[in-house]
Symmetry: C2
Subunit: 167 residues, 2 copies
Amino acid sequence: MLVHMSTAVSEQVPEAMSWSTENCTISRTMDILGDKWTFHVLREVFVGVRRFEDIRARAGVPRQVLTERLAALIERGLIRRHPYRLPGQRERSEYRLTQAGLDLYPVLVAMIQWADQYLPLDSGPPIEPRHRGDCGERVTVVMRCEAGHEPTPREVAFRPGPGAQPR
Amino acid sequence: MLVHMSTAVSEQVPEAMSWSTENCTISRTMDILGDKWTFHVLREVFVGVRRFEDIRARAGVPRQVLTERLAALIERGLIRRHPYRLPGQRERSEYRLTQAGLDLYPVLVAMIQWADQYLPLDSGPPIEPRHRGDCGERVTVVMRCEAGHEPTPREVAFRPGPGAQPR
DNA sequence: CAGCATAAGTCCGCTTGACAGACTCAGCCA
DNA sequence: TGGCTGAGTCTGTCAAGCGGACTTATGCTG
C-alpha cells in the first residue's frame, strides 16, 4: 500500500524506499529522451519535417546541438538516415522514424492530451492527433488494465516488478 | 496527407512546414517537463517518496537543482507542499502531486511501456503500473479515436488544429 | 572553365547551468 | 550547553549550450 492511502497521523516509510533506483525504467528512458531539444527534434520528425535545415529552422535548435542529437537518436535506434535528392542538387540525408521511434506515439499523444487540459490556448489546440484515412477522428490515450478496466490516475500505482533490486 | 505516404521519387513539402512552431504544444510541455531532473523528481513523488532528503538521495539530484526544480513544479501546479511532523522533530514540508500532476500518469505509463519493449532488462521490468486494490492487474496505455478504433502508430497522424498559426 | 548557390555541417569565444563539497539555519533533545 | 537532523544556501570549477562566422561538397549558370 502506498502512503497515499495512509490516514494515520504518524507517517509510514513508502514501499519504494526499499528499492534501488539503479536500473529505473524512467531513468533509462530519460537518458535517451531527457532533454528539451531531443523532444523538439522528434516532434519535427513526427510531423514530417525530416531535413537538417528545416528541423533546425523550425525548432530553433543550435546547429551543433542538432548534429549531436540526431547522431544520438540514430545510435539509439529511434531514427535512421535516408538519402534523398532534390532535382538539380546533390544527394543529401533526411531523418525518418524507425519502428522504435514510431512507437513513441502514445508518449507524445499523452503529453499533448495533458497539455491541452492544463496549458490550453484561447485559440484551441495547435496540433491534434487523428486517426488517418477515412475515420479522421481525434485520438487520445487511455489507461487500461489486463482485466479490461480503465482506471483513473488515482486508481493506478507503480509497484516493483520482477527486475526490482533491493537497496 | 503526410509525406510518409508519398511513394513518388520527387519529394513534397510536408504540410507541417506551413504551420508555425510558436505555440507548439510539445514545446510548452517541454518548458515544464523537458529536463532529466524534473522527470526523476516526478518519478520519486509518483512512487510515494516525498521528502527533500529522500528524493535527493534516491534520485541523485544535486541539492541546488532539487530546490530549483521543486519550486518550478510547485509554481507550475504539478505538486504542492504539505507540512508534516515526525515525533520529536520540528515541522517540515513534503511534496505531493496535485490533480494536474496525477494526470501525468498516462505519460509515465506510456514511457515505461515503450522502455519495457525497447530497453528491456534481463531480469524483467523493475517497476510496473498496476490497477490498485482487488484487481491488481498490469496497466498499459492504448490509443483510441473518438469513433472507438484503436489505431496503431502508423495509423495516427498529427494534424493542425484550430489553434494552429500559419507562418 | 569561373563563379555562385545551397544543405549540412564545423569552429570559436562567451555565457549559463550543473556539479561536489562545505557551510548555515531552525528547532528539538540529552 | 552542545549536538543532531532535515532542508536548504554558498562557492569555485567545469561542461554544455549558444549565436555567429567559417567550411565543404556538389550541381548549376554564364
